[in-house]
Subunit: 247 residues, 2 copies
């Protein structure tokens, strides 16, 4: 035991909450690799004994560290130090001829979740001026090295047939368009943070409130009447994006 029980109790009385003290000590141990990456932490009850606090306080600290992206827990298995592995979405290259694998720095695997007719206004909450009539809606999960990193919902304005929708469902949009010889003329992005939606929670295995990067997009193409819009959500520790502007 690296700190005696008394220090934690004393700390509570004069300052930060107990669970914050426990969290700080656990953070220190993770940063200094006392608990190495992918290794299981001692159990909650063992930590409670060690720190001289109740198990609930330890669990509160562990839960906060999960939301900070340092830990992940599985019932019946244990609590583990997360391996930090982050991908970058580079928008500077999004309009040139490189394929997505190169652009993203990894080979994505895409799971088509559904192709349905939905009213955008019902799905993309909080976005003003959306169509209230049903459109083709493609939902997919994107993986990198078998780790889920994006949950994507996209709407297609024109009916190019089921084969094209399947293509959209199995590729990133830029690739799908390239395959049918369509170019993107204009890209509008709104970038935002958000707590994980229920769908992202399910796809990416994160809990309610987990910080995620949200990108709402709108692609205009060089084919009359064909445009895409939608949104894609990524856990904060899985993806970031870069943009460069020169003047």
């Amino acid at each position: 035991m690296s700190r005696d029980t008394g220090s934690f109790v004393d700390a509570m009385h004069g300052g930060r909450p107990l669970h914050a003290e426990v969290r700080a000590e656990l953070t220190r141990r993770i940063d200094s690799a006392v608990y190495p990456t992918d290794a299981p932490l001692p159990s909650a009850s063992a930590l409670a004994r060690e720190f001289g606090v109740s198990m609930i306080t330890v669990k509160r600290a562990l839960k906060d560290l999960q939301n900070e992206g340092l830990l992940t827990s599985r019932a019946g298995l244990g609590t583990f130090v997360k391996r930090p592995k982050k991908f970058v979405r580079d928008y500077n290259m999004s309009l040139n001829s490189m394929d997505d694998a190169q652009r993203l720095g990894f080979e994505p695997r895409i799971d088509l979740l559904s192709i349905t007719m939905e009213a955008p206004a019902d799905i993309l909450a909080g976005v003003p001026d959306l169509p209230r009539d049903p459109m083709h809606c493609v939902k997919k999960a994107i993986y990198a090295d078998d780790v889920p990193i994006m949950y994507d919902v996209s709407f297609v304005s024109a009916d190019l047939g089921d084969a094209f929708l399947q293509l959209v469902g199995k590729h990133l949009i830029y690739d799908a368009l390239t395959k049918i010889g369509v170019k993107i003329r204009k890209t509008e992005l709104i970038i935002d943070a958000t707590p994980a939606s229920p769908e992202t929670q399910a796809v990416c295995g994160v809990s309610s409130g987990y910080p995620c990067l949200l990108r709402r997009y709108r692609y205009e193409t060089d084919r009359e009447g064909l445009l895409f819009f939608g949104q894609v959500e990524s856990p904060f520790d899985k993806l970031s994006c870069t943009i460069t502007m020169e003047s």
Copy 2:
């Protein structure tokens, strides 16, 4: 009481956790304005009585809803429905001659927190290839309509004197540069989500784990050797940013 006690207990036994049921019902009431904006919710003990669950379960649901940005609580006062008010940072205009008030759609008020010498590598965690030698570091809080919306840390490469650092501390960087006749030649951005840092928690009054938008920036100027870099953090419900690309 809009649902009888039994329905919650039954729901627990056959599916979602109890606190998720409570959260869903509270969300419904907030969305349908049963609990209007800025109005206090019934107390945790009253809700516990109403739903027939323990107070801890209600508190767990309330805490989750705080992290989702729907509620805010103050000890001794109550729990309130948050007024949604969000600002947009438009990067498309960042290089033209409009002043920041117009660009942002609001008149910012800026609190200078500190001007110090710091090693960037010590402050901007997780960024590779940062100088390990101390540089001028300006920390500030930015408010819109008296609501804190950004916590900014910036480093200045050259020593232009204390008056200039004060200028940086009291204005957004673009404005500070304009005032001394310097133009930005190149802007590099990394946009990311993150749980609130301790500093952002303090400045913006959000709790640990609150989803925030993180923008790391690097500005090159037309004055030799003068560049800025740093990062700015905003609670997810206070700011988003937009970018448009044409090709």
